[in-house]
């Protein structure tokens, strides 16, 4: 009996969190589609999420593409299958590595910043002040961030895909002795519409997850600086886990026969 008790409590609190999160998510979504809209705030968040993440995402993508080409070469050379490298690079980058790595990097950068900003607004009563000024924080704070996340991450991933493939090209051409023209031709031949689209769908989902987690944990933070700190940590950790989970689910939806 005493063994079952903590287990039961754990399951109950799990469902409580899922419930609270679903209510929060549906409220946030419903406010994304109802006026008033704040185009200026959305634009500001898009710059915050997209433009300022470019260096970090770009660096991640180029090194990933480079290492991918290098590792595939050491493996494939044993079977004289080096010509498959452009294929491996484009498929892995567009399907998996582009969206997942960009998602994780943005979760660390943007999710944390959102949780910290909204959390600070919560503990300094700025969110209460918004309410008293007859402004709904879901409209003013959360909807612009979620919209910006969903719109910006696909663009960011498209850039990451391009840079990643370019990284693979650099290593293949300058280090492994591939012919530039053949490499590019193979890359384009192997590029599948569905691979790119699935990657972009993933990116949009990750954008939603990252901004939602940042807003949720910030919005519910309490207890001063320490509370804001743990909200930030929770936002990044939960966003990262959800990204990996939904990455599997979306892959399953697209590619399982």
């Amino acid at each position: 009996m005493p063994l079952l008790q903590p287990l039961g409590r754990l399951i109950l609190s799990f469902f409580e969190i899922v419930g609270r999160l679903s209510i929060f998510a549906s409220t946030a979504i419903s406010h994304c589609f109802r006026p008033p809209f704040y185009p200026k705030l959305i634009l500001k968040q898009m710059i915050e999420v997209g433009y300022y993440s470019l260096p970090v995402v770009g660096l991640t993508a180029i090194f990933t593409g480079m290492v991918l080409a290098l590792q595939s070469y050491t493996g494939f050379a044993r079977f004289s299958a080096e010509s498959a490298i452009p294929n491996v690079v484009i498929v892995s980058i567009t399907r998996e590595l582009g969206p997942v790595l960009a998602g994780l990097m943005v979760a660390g950068r943007v999710g944390a910043a959102m949780a910290a900003e909204i959390g600070t607004m919560r503990v300094t009563e700025q969110i209460d002040a918004l309410y008293t000024l007859a402004t709904n924080p879901f409209k003013y704070l959360i909807a612009p961030r979620v919209i910006a996340g969903v719109l910006t991450l696909p663009i960011l991933v498209l850039v990451a895909d391009t840079i990643g493939v370019f990284g693979g090209y650099l290593v293949s051409v300058h280090k492994l002795g591939f012919n530039p023209a053949t490499y590019l031709k193979n890359t384009i031949d192997f590029m599948e519409y569905l691979d790119v689209v699935s990657g972009l769908v993933k990116a949009a989902a990750f954008g939603f997850i990252i901004t939602l987690m940042g807003c949720y944990h910030g919005f519910h933070s309490k207890g001063g600086a320490q509370g804001v700190g743990s909200a930030t940590t929770n936002a990044v950790v939960s966003a990262s886990i959800l990204i990996l989970t939904f990455n599997y689910i979306i892959t399953e939806l697209f590619f399982s026969r």
């Binding site: 900003e117 009563e125 700025q126 402004t135």
Partner: protein, 270 residues
């Protein structure tokens, strides 16, 4: 504002009945009743941690009471939310204890926030009014484009006050408007509150520790103790009442019915 006009025969703007609120085991408000009449300025006094801010947040709909009823102009607001509550709040102005300025916006944008967001005023017009309100609280135009982080806490308080009165609301709430201000500025703020209440013909609910300020701005004073109103009456009766709570509080005595909450368990923990 202790002129002899009797407020209690005016209509009730805020009617609180049986209001209770607890955090965990700690009971903060306990079956509290309070009426605030149209056009009156009521000050709530009480020791630190007695639940004055909690009372205010319940009336503003920021905290959900455990039980009880709060009516604003006859409309029940407990349990209201969304756009209905927003339209109630459009008639409110609130100064928070720690000002709660938006630190992503400049000073004038803070003051103009309610005008632009809730009342849909064009930015240029709102800017003009914001500058006006800022000068009323003694802050010149050069502060308008600064960020809240660049101001002292007393200045933030004044910006918070300007933001509260900017929309000319019918009902004003002030949480410790003069705490942290020097006596001269405290006096200025007091006058401003009295003037705003008169000019806007507003109803004001103020919370304060500062007894001089309380006497200056109030028509009536209520004392909160252990979750209930321990005394309420016209300001001029404050000195003459034989209520032991009031006597102890305004004279700052240690002896009396108010238990100073340094309990034995607290001591043992030290």
């Amino acid at each position: 504002m202790t002129d002899q006009h009797d407020v209690t025969n005016k209509a009730v703007r805020i009617r609180i009945r049986g209001l209770s609120k607890a955090f965990g085991k700690k009971i903060v408000l306990d079956n509290l009743d309070l009426d605030i009449h149209e056009g009156e300025s009521l000050v709530v006094i009480g020791g630190s941690g007695t639940g004055k801010s909690v009372l205010l947040k319940c009336v503003l709909g920021l905290l959900k009471p455990d039980s009880g009823s709060i009516q604003i102009d006859g409309q029940e607001i407990v349990g209201l939310n969304g756009s209905v509550m927003e339209s109630v709040r459009r008639k409110f102005g609130m100064l928070f204890q720690y000002a709660a300025l938006f630190d992503s916006l400049t000073i004038w944008e803070n003051v103009a926030f309610g005008l632009i967001q809730a009342h849909g005023m064009p930015r240029e017009d709102a800017h003009k009014i914001a500058i006006e309100k800022l000068s009323e609280v003694g802050l010149g135009e050069r502060f308008a484009t600064k960020n809240p982080a660049e101001l002292s806490s007393g200045m933030k308080k004044r910006v918070g006050l300007a933001r509260a009165i900017a929309t000319s609301p019918e009902t004003l709430f002030f949480d410790e408007p003069t705490t942290g201000l020097d006596p001269v500025m405290g006096d200025v703020i007091d006058r401003l509150i009295v003037q705003s209440v008169k000019e806007l013909d507003a109803t004001a609910l103020t919370i304060t520790h500062d007894m001089d300020s309380a006497k200056r701005i109030s028509d009536r004073i209520a004392m909160l103790y252990q979750g209930k109103i321990a005394w309420i009456g016209p300001t001029e009766n404050l000195e003459t009442t034989d209520n032991p709570y009031i006597h102890q509080f305004i004279n700052g005595l240690l002896e009396g019915p108010i238990k100073v909450s340094v309990t034995n368990t607290d001591r043992a923990a030290e």
